[in-house]
């Protein structure tokens, strides 16, 4: 039943264009279709998960125009022209994002249903607050629920990723200095 609902001729619907993980995408779907369903069903980006479907759990979190949003609450027409980043856009050329590495390393993921949302909420935090305090990490992730990890490993993962980011920058800085010294 739910599969069939969009099988009306697609030309019936106006074209909606936006950018996902750097690539321009155009869909012809009902304008009220949830961004979450467009990502999963039309663009086959199934990394973004549905938990509650009502803005309570954060497992559908994506970044849209540099804000964290719950994609289950965004009608796709309101994404027209937007720049969207999903969990699939975190890894670069097959190299895991420092957050993904930290989650692996520190046991920040178990069943994985909450993980894409946690990663996007953490990515949003680090983009604006590269040195978050423990309280800032908790506040940034307060809308993301996890039924497996008990949260501590997730908070540790985010803190570790922030440190790794520092280390990486320090490293780059040292390399630069070495370079200059030559």
């Amino acid at each position: 039943m739910s599969r069939k609902r969009d099988e009306s001729p697609s030309s019936l619907w106006p074209a909606i264009q936006f950018t996902v993980n750097g690539g321009s995408r155009t869909v012809r779907v009902p304008p009220m279709k949830r961004l979450l369903d467009v990502l999963r069903e039309d663009l086959h980006l199934t990394g973004t998960k549905e938990g509650c479907g009502e803005g309570e759990c954060g497992s559908c979190s994506v970044r849209m125009n540099d804000e964290l949003v719950n994609s289950c609450l965004v009608p796709v027409l309101q994404a027209e022209g937007a720049d969207i980043q999903t969990v699939e856009g975190l890894a670069l050329n097959g190299d895991l994002h420092p957050l993904q590495q930290a989650f692996l390393h520190h046991g920040g993921a178990q069943c994985g249903i909450c993980t894409p949302g946690m990663l996007m909420a953490a990515a949003q935090l680090l983009a604006h607050t590269p040195h978050p305090s423990a309280t800032e990490i908790r506040e940034a992730l307060a809308g993301n629920l996890c039924r497996c990890t008990g949260f501590m490993h997730i908070f540790e993962s985010v803190a570790a990723a922030a440190d790794a980011h520092d280390a990486q920058q320090a490293n780059e800085h040292t390399m630069e200095q070495t370079h200059h010294a030559r």
Binding site: P30, P31, M32, R34, E67, P75, L77, A121, G143
Partner: protein
Amino acid sequence: MRGNPAMHDLVAPGSLGAVLDLLAAEPGIWTPIAGGTELMVAFSAGRLNAPKLVSLWGISDLRTIQANSDTMAIGAAATFLDLRRDAVIATEFPLLARAASWIGSVANQSRATLGGNLVNGSPAADSSPALFAYDAEIEMISVRGTRRVPYSQFHTGYKRNVLAPDELLYAIHLPRRFARHRQYLRKVGTRRAMAIAKVALGATALLEKNTVQEIRISAASLAPYPTRLFDTEAALLGKAITRETVLAARSALLAEVKPIDDIRSTAEYRRRVAVNLLEEFLLELRRGELHA
């Protein structure tokens, strides 16, 4: 039953004028949708009774926050993150900034709008006590022009308000004269983030020579719609804060609130917490502990 997107029409005219024209052409037919944090929940659950929706998202006229010389004008579609990031709101209207931080999570605050919170009219609306405490005025707009009402006259019943079918909530105006007022806001709920208030109390007061010169008190979840507690205020106005006035204010509050039992709490619990919050506010006020 899941919502079926093909059953709803959604248009985004892109400008305030075009939205107003649409509302004027077919009044009552189009449901405005801003950040969708209320309507999309209903849609997902298959209980959104709105065949035609018009998007307010991305209309910049509705999202401006402007500090004028004597008022702060907040566009109805300003998000709660916009409010939290505004420097004037943070310093002059700290209760509103704090209430904004209570609205769901960051992902809700990036989409939920102040106007949406008011139009939805939940008795538990987080922003309402702060707006009453700051004597807010509500500006509405239609092709016929604009009009204003005090916020205390905006809600008229459970999820009902004074908006005409062709009108949009346009802006919320706050007078910039609370710098010397003592300010109080506290919410009691199960959890700081996300949880809906069991009870919240907000207030501002101007105290001179230990006498209450001005006072505004409001509560969430103590009536079918957000309300200002005029009788409680009257019990305090022109009085010194003594044991007797505190007791009189407690009785006035108990007489004027109409809380209900629901899944979040009971009427009796809400009454008790509300009078305790009131007393906490008054004692802190007397001790001069509240932020001016």
